[in-house]
Amino acid sequence: MTKVIAKKICMVGPFAVGKTSLVKRFVESIFSDKYLTTIGVKISKKIMTVEDEQFQLMIWDIEGVDIFTELKPSFLRGAAGVFLVLDGTRLKSLDMAEKLQAVIEQHLPGVPIVGLLNKSDLSYEWKLGESELEEIEKLGIETLTTSAKTGQNVEEAFRALVEKMTLETGRV
């Protein structure tokens, strides 16, 4: 039997950016327009093969953060990789990125973070211009433009994160 490496991944981001939808698209290949707010955390499982190695990803879909709710660091504990999910149609969601990144790096030092600019299918409402992208670049994290609805870059995003994780462990 091939060795299966189990890893914990966290989805972090402001509320209603599409974290749950991304997970659903990735795990079940389903997308639903209906908005369901996540309370606490929802955990999904997906087996993924990257570079001939099998990974069992336990994806912790953590509830969205807003000005009233803070990110609960205990959910992050032990994670091997984090997605910082942002909404490309809501500029306000970008404002929190920096703060969230700080929390993540505080609790998970050295753990790879991949930024996701979600809802790319809503091209008419897309708000990200050059200046915003520059700001994101300043954070120093790799970002991908994704869409849970069309599935654009979803698989690739997970693959990218897992690859970064393997590099990370290789380095350590």
């Binding site: 060795k3 490496i5 189990a6 499982k45 336990m58 912790w60 205990s74 032990g78």
Partner: protein, 575 residues
């Protein structure tokens, strides 16, 4: 200077060995030798020896080896790790060299172990059989089926729920830090959810609870962990160690035994996998070995004996009903036997003639005739009744009603019962008929073979009587009715003539009877000739007599009377 000396000393020592082996000694070397001797004195030889000889080394090490091992053990487990392969190899070699030895050592351990295993397996089998029997056909099983159907659970699962006090359905070993599942085992017949998701969710819930309710101080929080979650009949027990959490999904109420076992298991897991747990990077394969440890927690405790009570009641009722039925049957049988005995007793009682003996369910009525000197009927019944009373109380319900008539029988106590008159008359009639037929004598004129008028007048009666005889014997199934018609002659004339004439006289009567419809095959005509005494009148000698056999319809009845009635013609026939 010192440095220089030290280096020189070192180089000198380094050369000692070469010098000892070497053949030529330089002057410088000699100087060193002297120096050494000066420094070490007499100990030089032994010091040199000690340096070269391995034996002394061994001796020295032997002296401190035990203590060294002891110290090393106290410090850490590295010695054990280092020795493990050696010990392993040594044991392997030892077994290979002398298997008998290891057999002898293991034998006393193996025997009881095997016996225990076998008896456990047997007990388990018997228990499961018992449970199956208990649950397959009882009222409660029907009840459970209905309940299982209503709650939408498979019947087998419902039975488990009912019969098991608690049962560990799943055991999870969860990595504390990441919430990843290290290993899990599931009990048989349990429908398990994805254990990986369960373990992650468990960690999440545990985190959530401690986030929400615990002290904010992180140091304190480390000690406080979620210990149990209960919903419905299922309880999750969590036993946290520093690196891993053992979670048990238990249905029912877990016992202390289970809790202490779980503690032991999580402790030994930490002991065994401490390093792996601390450096866990997602590779779970090493934890597959923990399977047996986790399986130890898959225990269950059955409900104590509760369902067993019910059948006892049913069995008692059944046994009672059956024994009641048996007693009843026995009573009826005994009762009938006793009644029969009573009847026999009364019938055999001296001077008693039973006219009637009637019995129904509740009463017996007896009617008897008895002689004055016989015992009183009450005494006779009392005698039989002692048996009755010995039997059961039921006899009291039987009313014995006896009606007796005292009759003076005369010298012979033999009764003439009313029950026999019919057969008697039939037989008497027959006997009378036989007598009448045999008494009819036909007289003849001298030398004549034809009947005179008075003789002819008797013929119709004779025919009638013989016909009746024939009829009666046929009715009673007597096949050997025979009528012998005997002709006689007087003492005058020749013997031949007398024989002929007597035959003719018999033939005459016979032919007349045949002509009147009497079967010829039952009649024999026999000319006897003259056999009478001279004293007999000549007129009486010329005659025809008739002899009938058998004399009676029922030969076994009253032979005295039958023989008494007509011995004479019989005698004549024999002569």
């Amino acid at each position: 200077m010192e440095d220089c000396e030290a280096s020189e000393g070192l180089s000198g020592e380094g050369r000692t060995s070469t010098k000892l082996k070497g053949a030529d000694e330089s002057v410088e070397d000699n100087n060193y030798l002297k120096l050494r001797q000066l420094l070490l004195g007499d100990d030089y030889a032994s010091a040199l020896n000690r340096y070269i000889s391995k034996e002394e080394d061994a001796e020295r090490v032997a002296k401190v080896l035990a203590k060294a091992i002891h110290l090393s053990n106290q410090e850490d487990a590295s010695l054990g790790d280092a020795l493990a392969p050696v010990v392993d190899q040594a044991i392997g070699r030892s077994i290979e060299d002398n298997p008998q030895r290891i057999t002898n050592i293991i034998f006393p351990i193996m025997g009881p172990a095997i016996r225990k295993a076998v008896s456990n397996a047997l007990t388990e089998m018997i228990q499961s059989l018992n449970t199956l029997l208990e649950q397959s056909l009882t009222l409660s099983s029907l009840n459970w089926r209905v309940k299982a159907w209503r709650s939408g659970i498979p019947y087998a699962q419902y039975v488990l729920l009912q019969t098991v006090k608690y049962r560990v359905e799943q055991v999870f070993l969860v990595h504390h830090e990441t919430g990843l599942l290290l290993h899990s085992v599931t009990a048989k017949e349990v429908v398990a959810q994805d254990p990986e998701l369960v373990s992650s969710m468990l960690t999440a819930i545990s985190d959530f609870v401690s986030d929400s309710f615990s002290a904010s101080d992180d140091a304190l929080r480390a000690d406080e962990t979620l210990e149990r979650i209960r919903f419905g009949q299922l309880e999750l027990l969590l036993f946290a160690g520093p690196h891993a959490i053992l979670a048990l999904a238990v249905r029912g109420n877990a016992s202390d035994e289970l809790t202490s076992k779980a503690h032991r298991v999580i402790e030994s897991i930490h002991e065994r996998y401490a390093y792996l747990l601390a450096k866990f990077d997602g590779d779970r394969s090493p934890f597959d070995e923990a399977d047996s440890l986790l399986s130890e927690c898959l225990i269950s405790q059955k409900v104590a004996q509760a369902p067993k009570r019910k059948p006892w009641l049913a069995i008692c009722v059944l046994v009672a009903a059956f024994s009641y039925f048996c007693v009843q049957q026995f009573n009826v049988y005994q009762h009938e036997g006793l009644l029969e005995d009573l009847e026999n007793n009364i019938r055999q009682e001296k001077g008693y003639v039973v006219l009637e003996f009637k019995q129904d369910d509740t009463s017996v009525s007896i009617e008897v005739l008895r002689s004055p000197e016989s015992r009183l009927p009450d005494v006779v019944i009392e005698e039989s009744n002692t048996n009755f009373n010995k039997g059961t109380d039921n006899s009291t319900f039987i009313k014995i009603d006896i009606k007796d008539t005292v009759v003076h029988f005369g010298p012979l106590p033999k009764p003439v019962p009313l029950s026999q008159p019919k057969a008697k008359t039939e037989n008497e009639l027959y006997r009378d008929l036989v007598a009448r037929v045999e008494s009819s004598t036909f007289y003849f004129e001298p030398k004549a073979t034809q009947l005179t008028q008075p003789g002819l007048d008797k013929i119709p009666t004779l025919i009638n009587d013989v016909k009746t005889l024939e009829h009666m014997t046929k009715r009673f199934g007597i096949a050997d009715l025979q009528i012998i018609i005997m002709g006689f002659a007087d003492n005058l004339g020749t013997e031949y003539g007398n024989k002929t004439v007597s035959q003719k006289r018999a033939d005459t009567i016979r032919s007349m009877l045949v002509a009147n419809g009497i079967a010829s095959n039952i009649m024999i005509a026999w000319g006897v000739g003259n056999i009478d005494h001279a004293s007999m009148a000549e007129k009486s000698q010329r005659r025809v007599n008739i002899l009938v056999t058998p004399k009676l319809l029922q030969t076994d009845l009253d032979s005295e009377t039958g023989l008494d009635s007509d011995p004479r013609p019989n005698d004549g026939a024999l002569k």
